[in-house]
């Protein structure tokens, strides 16, 4: 099988300080990769580099495009990268406000990507907006409400619907459950797991919450101070951590 995304030696410096360095991995279609680490370990920097939101200082991010096969997204032209960003890629922000248009109704938020790729039939756009609201468990009669009238969990689900409406193949998620209370988190994780399996999505999930990766991720990458210290299957890494930092991380989880 051909990897969907090949990452080779990504490096990002903030002046003399290391953002992240020497990161390489392959992501296969349908695979979910978790990146864990403490605050400041470079995991969000890495995600933003991969998604093209930050300029890198070296390395390759090769994505298997539909029409041209494997292409380095860091050197592709900006129009192409932005096109990728609203068709085959999706980015779920930690704060739903960063990923939503707060002054536009829920339906408009979901429809934006459809209209950006040329959707010009109001009835069809609205029908898929309603369909997606249903899939993320938001009631249909909220379609004309603005996200500011939604709870935090609903905003996050709306953000997910807005990103998945164009049927992307790769989803970047930055702490998708951050700032939500545990019962809402559980519901969101359940939903995400269902959507990922159902749509055959590949995903890269950045989080500091080990429970999230345990549920969602097939593989795990542990980062510390900008370096990858351990990789492996999720259960393997969490149940039998080898690196001292990973052992610390796993043993730091509070048991209820």
């Amino acid at each position: 099988m051909h990897p969907l995304l090949q990452v080779n030696n990504i490096r990002k410096m903030y002046g003399a300080r290391i953002g992240c360095t020497d990161v390489s991995f392959d992501l296969f279609p349908g695979e979910v990769m978790g990146i864990v680490g403490e605050s400041g370990s470079g995991k969000s920097t890495l995600l933003n580099c991969l998604a093209g939101h930050l300029d890198t200082d070296g390395g390759e991010v090769i994505f298997d495009t539909r029409d041209r096969g494997p292409v380095d997204t860091l050197t592709m032209s900006e129009p192409e990268r932005r096109m990728l960003g609203r068709t085959d890629w999706a980015f779920v922000h930690q704060h739903a406000r960063d990923g939503l248009r707060m002054s536009v109704s829920a339906g408009g938020n979901i429809g934006e990507r459809l209209m950006a790729v040329g959707g010009r039939h109001y009835g069809d756009i609205r029908a898929s907006a309603v369909d997606w609201l249903d899939r993320v468990e938001i009631e249909e009669n909220r379609v004309d409400d603005r996200p500011s009238a939604f709870s935090g969990g609903m905003q996050q689900r709306l953000q997910i619907a807005r990103n998945l409406v164009t049927g992307p193949r790769l989803v970047f998620m930055d702490e998708p459950t951050g700032g939500l209370d545990v019962s809402v988190q559980a519901r969101l994780l359940d939903l995400l797991r269902g959507l990922v399996r159902e749509m055959g999505l590949s995903a890269i999930i950045v989080t500091h919450d080990l429970a999230v990766v345990r549920l969602l991720a097939d593989r795990l990458m542990v980062m510390k101070s900008g370096h990858v210290v351990e990789t492996g299957l999720t259960d393997q890494v969490l149940d039998d951590p080898q690196h001292a930092y990973t052992q610390l991380l796993v043993s730091s989880v509070l048991q209820v």
Partner: protein, 293 residues
Amino acid sequence: MSEYNFAYLDEQTKRMIRRAILKGLAIPGYQVPFASREMPMPYGWGTGGVQVSAAALTPDDTLKVIDQGADDTTNAVSIRKFFQRTAGVATTEETEQASIIQTRHRIPEATLREDQILVYQVPIPEPLRFLEPRETETRKMHSLEEYGLMHVKLYEDISQHGQIATSYAYPVKVEGRYVMDPSPIPKFDNPKLEMAAIQLFGAGREQRIYAVPPYTQVVSLDFEDYPFEPTKADHACDLCAAADSYLDEVIMDDAGGRMFVCSDTDYCRSRRAAGHVGRLGTEAPLSTGPEAA
């Protein structure tokens, strides 16, 4: 007029503005930045349009200035007087006679010719401004032709009002490339944007000039199932009985009395001179002007 250079602006400034105009004509709908000057009138009064007119005027031109279609409102009268004083050009109220027409919020009803120039006063040239506040981002969206957001606005209109409720400054796509704000003209005027005359748009405060050359394709944005519709009040003009012109509603008294009159005063006057009489009109056109009723 020895106190002023012809048409107020100095020749260097006019050359700078003409270069912006030529660039605008070469790239229809593209907003060309220019070094807008302080004009002896406040921003919002047409400082952009005045600068474009000043750069386009020649001593042989005949100038007409309209505001909301009317020749006799404050804005139109002031700008007309300004050019009478600083350029000494002939002025007229008749659309047919004018070679340059500066306008605010309307396109004249009479069909314009190839030897005429229509200059618009534009308050906010960026059609994406209220959707995306960052100028860097809107410029990028124009250069990459990312106009999905414009349709989000129309989507919101339909979802809230059941129809596209945007009734003025209705966004258009010029020659299949740039999305353009046609200045706050009513959408009734949008189909007229494809015309024989040169159309120049000047935004003084925002320092942008853009243009639509003659016979350029101008398409109003819409949805397949909610097509663009030019709208007007469902009446005929009460003075000249015109059923095809854009109308102003005038409240007559406190008892709900109202009348509809052409917003294009010259069009109304010429129709009445030709013998058309509306519901509240008088037989002969009044010498004091069309607004006397």
